[in-house]
Structure formats: C-alpha cells, structure tokens
Amino acid sequence: MALRLGDGVREAIRAHGVETYPNECCGALIGRDGVVTATLALANMTEEGPRRRFLVRPQDYREAERRASELGAELLGFYHSHPDHPARPSQYDLDHAWPFFSYVIVSVKAGVPEGMTSWRLREDRSAFDAEDLTYAQHHTDSHPAAPLH
C-alpha cells in the first residue's frame, strides 16, 4: 500500500505537531484513491496526558466524515505526532487502530519535526504494516527543488 500526501499536507501535519509540542497533535486525513488532499486539525481530547496520548472523540470523528463528504472525498485516516519519540506506532496505537485507515505519525524532537511515516493495521489486528509515503512534487525543506541554471 502507499499513501500520497498532496500539496501542503506534509507541511500542515508538521506545523500542527510543532504547534502542540510537547503535546501530541491529531487530525483527519481527507482525500480519495490513496491521495490526501486536505487535513482537518482536531482537538486532542485525551484525559490520559496529552504528551503521550491523543483522542479524537466521536463528535469530532463525525465532523471529519461530514467534512470529507462536503469535499466530495473520503476519510482516509488520521495523523498524530510523537513528541520526542520516533515515528513508529506504539502498542497503544495498535490496540486502538481501525482497519483500512492510514495512520500517519510525525516525530517531533525538541519542537522540531523529524521523520514522518504511515501505517495500516493488519486485518487480523496483529501488527501495523508500514506503507510507502510519497509527497507531491513541490518545494519542501527536505526535498529541495533541483537547482536551475
């Protein structure tokens, strides 16, 4: 599987992770056919300590589905940040995962966004599989444009 982040999506996720650091951010991924075209930043409603947890409540989930259908798109998954931890899913992520959704994780170290990964739950819930993450061709800090003459 692969997930492609459209224009500005990667930047929006990274910026959200920086904004909420040292707490976790979370939001919805909206698009179609494996391409994320929009994000919806959501409030982290966890009561278990937002440095290590995030929670999207049912009301916000419904809002995300509503927004997706307004845009004529689908809900493709969710993103969240791992402050000062690598962009790998935790056991807690696995325990709470929904099938067929893409789970994008951005690592934010000391307030600076680092690696970004995307994961999908195996149908038997035994593990996550990494999915390829590709980006729209445009100027980003880690993919600078080719130099011109």
């Binding site: 976790e24 979370c26 966890t46 278990e48 440095r51 290590r52 947890r53 995030f54 929670l55 999207v56 409540r57 049912p58 989930y61 419904r62 589905e65 997706a68 689908e74 809900l75 969710f78 969240h80 791992h82 402050p83 000062d84 931890h85 790998r88 899913p89 935790s90 056991q91 807690y92 992520d93 709470h96 995962a97 929904w98 099938p99 067929f100 959704f101 789970y103 149908e123 038997d124 819930r125």
Partner: protein, 483 residues
Amino acid sequence: MPNTIQIPTPLRPFTDKKEAVEVNGATVGELLADLTKRYDGLRRHLYADDGRLRNFVNIYLNDEDIRYLQREQTPVKPGDTLSIVPSVAGGAPTVAEELPTLTQEEIKRYSRHLIMPELGVDMQRRLKASSVLCIGAGGLGSPAAMYLAAAGIGRMGIVDFDVVDYSNLQRQIIHTTNDVGVPKLESARNKIAAMNPHVEVVGYETALSSENALELFRDYDVILDGTDNFPTRYLVNDACVLTGKPNAYGSIFRFEGQASVFGTKEGPCYRCLYPEPPPPGLVPSCAEGGVLGVLPGIIGVIQATEAIKVILGIGEPLIGRFLIYDALKMRFRELKLRKDPDCPVCGTHPTVTTLIDYEQFCGIRPEPAAAQTGAAVNDWEITPVELKRRLDAGDDLFILDVREPNEYQINRIPGSTLIPLGELPRRYQELPKGKEIIAQCKMGGRSAKAQDFLKSVGITNVKNLRGGILEWIDKVDPSQPKY
C-alpha cells in the same frame, strides 16, 4: 421491520462498501449480532477477545450513546437508527512500554517489591532501566551499592581506585577479610555479581577529577556521593548541578551522620548550604577521628533509599531537607534547606559554569613531587626515612606525638612523648628548650597544626613528620599495627 445501522468509513470494506445496513433484532446487542453474522470480518474490530465491545467503538442509538442507556441491552423500536462511531486514539510509546521486561527468575527475586501497591512490575522495570554511580566503594558506598544492587538497579557504576585494607573491614561490608590487598572495585564487583547477576557493574579505577566527572555523570540517572573529603565533595556537587543529575548525599563522622538530596532542579545544592569549604584540617576525617562502624550502614542505606525514590518518582525525597542523625542519642533531626538564588553553581546567575581546581578551592597544598622519593623536601618537614637515619646517628631529637591517648595505645614511635593537640596550648612549656622537635600524628595534619601553634608562641625549631606514623610504619617499622 428492520432497523438501520450506519457504518463508518473504515468498516465499509466489510459491508460491501455500504454506508448503512439493515438488520433485525429487539435490542442493540441483537442488532449488532445480526450485523456481525452477516459480515463476519467486522467482529474482531468491534469486539475484544473477551467478547466486550472495544472501548474505542461507540454505538449511538439515534443520538444517544448506549453507554448512557442500557448498553447492549437497550431495546430498539422500529425506525430507530444505530450508528457505529469511532473514537480514534493512539500515542507515543509510554515509559512502561519501553522498559526492559523481567525474566521469571527476576519476578521471583523481586516478588516482595512486586506485591507492594507503590511498586509493582512497572516500577521494578523502571529500576532495571535505571543507573546509579557510586563515588567510592567505602563506608557509605558499600551498603548503598549492595542494597541498590539487591533492589534491582540495572546498572551500577563505581568509582574507586583504592585497595582493601584491614582498617576498612569494620564498616565497609562489601569487602571481606579475603579481599585485603585486592582493589575495592574488584571486590565490590564480585560481591554484587554473587548477590544479583542481573546488575551490570561498571568500574572506574580512577580518581574522580574535574577532567572526567562530567563525562562519567552523564551516563547515570543518580549520583551517590560516598566521598570522604571536601575537594571531591564539591567536585561531585558541582558536576551534579552542571549535568543535572540528582546527588544522593551522605557524610559521616564518629557517631554523627548527614544525608540529603542535592542538585535537583527544584532543590538546593551542597553549596547553597556550604558556599565555602572549611579551612583545611579544621574538620577531621574519619581516618583521623574515627567512625562508628554501623553508622555508614545507616547513612549509606538512607542514600540508597533516596536514590530509589528519586528514580521512581515516589514519596518525599530529602530535597531541600537536611537530615542529621545522632547514633549515640539515637535521634534524627531535620533542617529545611532553601535554594540560594546567589549560589555560584545553581543560582540564577552562576559564576561556576565549568569544573574548577577543587584542591585549590579547598586550600589544600598539592603534594610535592619529591615526596615519593623519601628525601626531605623542605626545611619544615622531615620524612620518616630521614628521621630514622638521624635517630640512628644519635641526634638528640624530641619526638612530640600530638595524637589522642587511645591512638598512642595502638602504635608509637619509640621514645616519643604524647601531648594531644588540644592540650598543647597549656602544656607546651613541658617541651625541652633548645632541642629540635619532631611533631608527629597519624598522617601529618594535626602535627602541622601543632607546628603552626608552636611557631605562634615562639618555638620555631620544629619539623613535621611527613605522612605521620602511618608513613613511619610503611617506610621504617612495619612491625607496628596500622589503624
């Protein structure tokens, strides 16, 4: 008449992409059962292994969460709509997830910890993931290291370059009679390995110094100060503050002990309490003044207790509290300590930002290099070998022993006269006029003070025996016992 269930996006692949499915039943539970009968793949995502709905699966009957109705027993009427609405949760790995696991053997070993409500498996795993650096494997370091190792600290560092001596055995319980002459590190390592093979022991056979302290401290969670001298104590304090490591502090003398936790962000450091060291020689060491053998057992174990509390974040550590223990009266007293905003190390505008020369800071003269050769190095002191030569040559010398009577009972230089340092001011007139005087004590500290005093009353033909009677025994008369 069937009811409708709304299916959220991630579950639609199981329902042939349908957003809503028609099902039959009289209760919420029956409708869900009908749903999973039709679409079996849904079951494991909606229900946990114990058959209960997963906690991130929310079921709404019309607009009400069934948790606020009668849950799965909630009756449904014709036309009611059921919705499955996800909560989406996740997060970074918790501390507990990243901790090392315990083996079966470890679970047995630590079972008295594991059944305590304040500790338990995760706390024990936290101990296993933690590290403590003991500065010294002597009086305080011995019991502290043994109990910390027994308790399951994962990595114990020990800094010590000494060799086990008979005079250690009365209190340094990690060492035994068989270890006399063996490096303390080796002896401590063997005892810990025998007691708890799960503990990794890292030895540093070196003197802690301004050059190596910061690097050593960085690898540890807590530093346990078991030093017996002021330069190293200030060095440990400053290095703890500079590296942000808590300092489980203890010190002992005769019947009295002290303990505290210094160097935490919120609390004071040793310099907040004692900005300046005492003048050299004013505060006697245990080697000079003695110490009750069980005293370091109490204080060292208090330090170990505080190290464990700081690692686990439980209880009320001795931060900003200075504990004073009197073994004779069997009393504990506690002083409140405040962080000094003007502290040169941990204050708001620190002036000490790197490690300094602590020997110099404590006013201790560096040992002259020539001392090792046994030759006289200046005109105010004499080496034991030179003293022996002059005595053998028949020089008429007056040997003044300024130790205490109980020390004089243990060993003495033949022909010496005992006048304890404290009695010298009223007894110095007993000294013979005109004779050259050799002042002597155990190691040379008190006799240097005697020499200074005598000079102040006009008696100047005094030499200090370098290294005291201990060096005399080493170099001249090994037949006498050392203490």
